[in-house]
Symmetry: C2
Subunit: 180 residues, 2 copies
DNA sequence: GTCTATATTCTGATAGAC
DNA sequence: GTCTATCAGAATATAGAC
């Protein structure tokens, strides 16, 4: 059984993704997690502490995901692109946490910790992709394709009709095989 | 001189991008726009009306941008990728408005109008890119690279050291010339 | 560790003067 | 068209019982 602390973070992610940053109040997080507001504040003493907790989780999961990228049977690029697409996230993986944290990223000084954590995730994935695609420009291109899909997942925008993620991968693989 | 209505929308965009959706209050928007809260509420009777006004602006600018993509001297792909990159947005273009609207996109029912508007922007750009790259898979790949850069612009995350957007474009052009 | 109750500040929105 | 004044409700956070 998951501890209350983890359930609170799960609830925080759910609210950020489904209802947006504006709907995230301590009351709402507590209700979603099935605890009282006081119970929530025992684990996270303030809203900032809640953010810090989520960033810690993001860093942990990003490190684990970088390993998963490197050891993916189908290859690093395919793994990254697939897990970035809508519905492609691995349960307990970075994807969901990353999408949640994206909603609290802003340009403020207090938002710096959030941007730093997101930058670390990007750097982790870039390094993992470079282990397969030694050319940094190719690695970046592959990452950007995945990140473009992330944006679609973030907004819930439908993909172009008649084309699927596998079509993307087929085309990318053909090119990468030709040059690499 | 810009009307008060436009100044309010400009202020709304600025707050969304620089301080996040959480910091957007009617007080803050009014202060940023240089009007009183009452003055703001004369132009936009509620917060929802403010959102609707921003979505209207997004649709207008997206249509204009689709034309710009089609008539770009350097080609559609180069225009799309460059204007998606951090700092690459054209003043008065879609980029800034799009980035602002991204911050208010959520999965709620009331957020449906926001998602629909964002989906329309994506569809506009996809259609414009297809006018140059007739293959839909290639057009989508090019769009996703640009969208990946959008995500970087959104989060303020630094680009990989030693690689620039022009390196991306050089590589993409070489491939597109070879296949197309 | 978790709860209820409460203090305090802030937010969206209205009313009405100018 | 723009302002000030004000209200009702919601938000974060604290205090203290269990």
């Amino acid at each position: 059984m998951a501890g209350a602390r983890d359930r609170v973070l799960d609830a925080y992610e759910t609210l950020l993704i489904d209802h947006g940053a504006g709907a995230v109040t301590l009351d709402a997080v507590a209700a979603e997690a099935g605890v009282s507001k006081g119970g929530l504040l025992y684990h996270f003493a303030s809203k900032d502490a809640l953010v810090s907790g989520l960033l810690d989780r993001l860093r942990e999961r990003s490190a684990a995901d970088a390993d998963a990228i490197r050891s993916a049977p189908d290859g690093a690029v395919a793994y990254y692109v697939r897990t970035s697409a809508p519905g492609g996230g691995v349960p307990g993986g970075v994807t969901r946490t990353y999408l949640a944290v994206l909603r609290i990223a802003d340009g403020t000084e207090t938002g710096r910790a959030v941007r730093d954590a997101l930058a670390a995730v990007d750097a982790d994935a870039f390094a993992a992709l470079r282990a397969e695609l030694h050319d940094p420009v190719l690695a970046w291109l592959a990452q950007l394709v995945g990140d473009g899909l992330y944006l679609r997942t973030l907004t819930g925008t439908p993909l172009p009709a008649g084309i699927g993620v596998e079509d993307l991968l087929t085309r990318m693989r053909a090119y990468l095989d030709a040059v690499g």
